[in-house]
Symmetry: C2
Subunit: 378 residues, 2 copies
């Protein structure tokens, strides 16, 4: 199942891991941040810009693509890589999380989840087998099991039920993938169990026993707060094999990334850099900057002199402020570009820090600064 | 007034003119099409893409910029070229046309035009003197006189009144520009007079007597239809000096451009390439293509193999269709890019045809094809 796919741990420092995931479409340097290309586009960026920013891999959403343009259509057009002109590795989620957050009239049964499309109201059924079939039609390099991600807060009983169902779905996905997956593609399991340590342990151990090529921690960053997220993460990771990549789904802020890397996470995805960019928010090496703020209206300085991104270096804050206020496309384009680039610079800096045995110092220096919102100092 | 600014006629062929406008910021090859950067951005394009597409000059709208971010602010930030990172020549209109089409509560008097901002409802007064002052604060290379552009249809009396007022404003602009303009900057007059030949003649002759460095034909493409537009244009141009550049404002479709070049027009501007791009419409060497159309849903061919634009060559119509249907920013970005590029290719092809004495053949070959909407042949 993992022919052509492999994970190599290069260095460990202060809990943080520097590694490499080999895939037939290229190496993924870890810790890695995957920009999100929900509907086969990392919003407001050309694919070449995503690569130049330093991304080795992107994420695409099965839920969105199965509804529009449809997995069979993408397969007929040569697969997702050709369709969206991204030649590197792609990870697809299973669709479960988006069904919970976007679709109408959901009904979860042992068989799978029935739901109504948010695009046209049509009824669909997603089973573990169909989730794998769709991901194979898309041709993604890393595929995710179908899981049930419940809302926070949930009772222990509800969290246990969903976790156990997700385990049974993991096994069905494993079998479907063994049949339909291609050499070099990998299926990851997803640990569930809410903020309940015992449920997380049982989920992680059962998935580890399936000997999948990688594991995700799901169901976090859904409202439980950073402390609960990190506590749950820490306990969960002790039950996952060290030799497999570990992916924290849907996370997060720059400070979240530093904290999670410090606990041994290798992969992340989040819409934050692109979504924030479309709303006038920038991430910089000095913290967050809200370009809507009137204090930028006559500021001739660039967004971030420490960034190598042309969007952060070559345009004035005054111009970015104007573009955001005027609702110009270019504002979203430049800030999304700057943010995706900043996230990649942050990951590259963490990889270098781990490799050079100075991650603790890096973390201490940056985690508070990057957590801060815009200040007058800046 | 025209030091450093000059027009050179290089070739005339079948009524069409090949020329060059020299400005301190670079040469404008004519016939030229100016992409419109209304609010200091050619919508959905990076400035470098506009240049690479072949544009020598862009247009920016005085009305939008005076309201947001404000002309004085742009001046404090070093002028419009630095603000929007466009080092080449910029033409600014006077604001008159946008006040007529966008602002609320307009009142035209001898003094100027009072209006309410469409951004925040604030009251403003634009006089000929202030229009020049604003354009000098922006630092544009080619500035336009304030004129009154009336709605179509208008009675001959109304057209005459507005034309005569525009002439008096031209004289006031000329004086203001003589005082405030910088060496190398140029002020263009605007011929008005609706579709009335006699009014157009009087307007053109009076402006020609002012010996301005260039002349625009205004008040066309406002609903009178292509035949009336071209008829009026033809008659108007006979009264303008051959040695000055001639600019047809707000025009138009590819077929309009060919027809107007055939009548001796040297410069154009229009929002059509960018606005159409944001609405899923593409201009190609085979005619217009509506990417919303379901027939493109599984078409693996590029938009236009005859274009050199990456957006037209490297992405499938199926992908463009998907992006447009999904409302992805990238759809607007790619189609705006392809359209701006196509318009520049069309101008370059016309310039070459005139220079090589084959414009009549070029015009016959392309004007009908480019006028056509999408057909099944395509």
């Amino acid at each position: 199942m993992t022919r052509g796919f492999g994970f190599k741990l290069i260095a460990v420092d202060a809990g943080a891991r520097r590694g490499e995931i080999a895939t037939p479409r290229g190496v993924i340097r870890t810790p890695a941040f995957m920009p999100v290309g929900t509907a086969a586009s990392v919003k407001a960026l050309y694919p070449g810009q995503v690569r130049e920013a330093g991304a080795d891999i992107i994420l695409a959403n099965t839920y969105h693509l199965m509804l529009r343009p449809g997995a069979e259509r993408i397969a007929r057009l040569g697969g997702l890589h050709a369709f969206m002109r991204w030649p590197g590795p792609i990870l697809t989620d299973s669709g479960g999380f988006q069904i919970m957050s976007l679709a109408g009239l959901r009904k979860v049964t042992e068989e799978g989840v029935a739901f109504q499309s948010h695009v046209d109201g049509a009824r669909h059924m997603l089973t573990p087998e169909r989730a794998i079939e769709i991901q194979c039609l898309l041709g993604s390099d890393i595929q995710m099991q179908l899981d049930e991600c419940i809302a926070f807060p949930a009772s222990p009983d509800e969290a246990r039920r969903a976790m156990e169902l997700s385990l049974r779905w993991a096994e069905r996905c494993r079998r479907a993938f063994a049949e339909k997956g291609s050499p070099g593609q990998a299926l990851f399991g997803i640990v569930q169990g809410g903020v309940h340590p015992e449920l997380r342990r049982r989920s992680a151990e059962a998935l580890a026993a399936m000997e999948l090529p990688g594991y995700a921690v799901g169901g976090l960053a859904v409202g439980e707060g950073q402390a609960a997220m990190l506590g749950t993460l820490e306990r969960t990771l002790t039950f996952l094999p060290a030799g497999k990549p570990r992916y924290l789904m849907g996370v997060g802020t720059p400070a979240d990334l530093i904290e999670a890397v410090a606990r041994g996470i290798d992969m992340f995805d989040c819409v934050m850099p692109t979504r924030s960019g479309r709303h006038g928010q920038a991430f910089t090496w000095s913290g967050r900057v809200n370009l809507r703020n009137a204090r930028h209206a006559e500021d001739p300085r660039p967004l971030d002199e420490r960034s190598a991104c042309p969007a952060a270096r070559e345009y004035s804050r005054a111009y970015l402020h104007h573009l955001v206020k005027a609702g110009e496309h270019l504002g979203a384009m430049l800030l999304s570009w700057a943010n995706v680039w900043f996230y990649q610079e942050l990951m590259a800096a963490m990889r270098a820090a781990v490799a050079e045995g100075r991650f603790a110092g890096f973390s201490a220096e940056h985690r508070e600064r990057l957590a801060g919102a815009e200040t007058n100092r800046e």
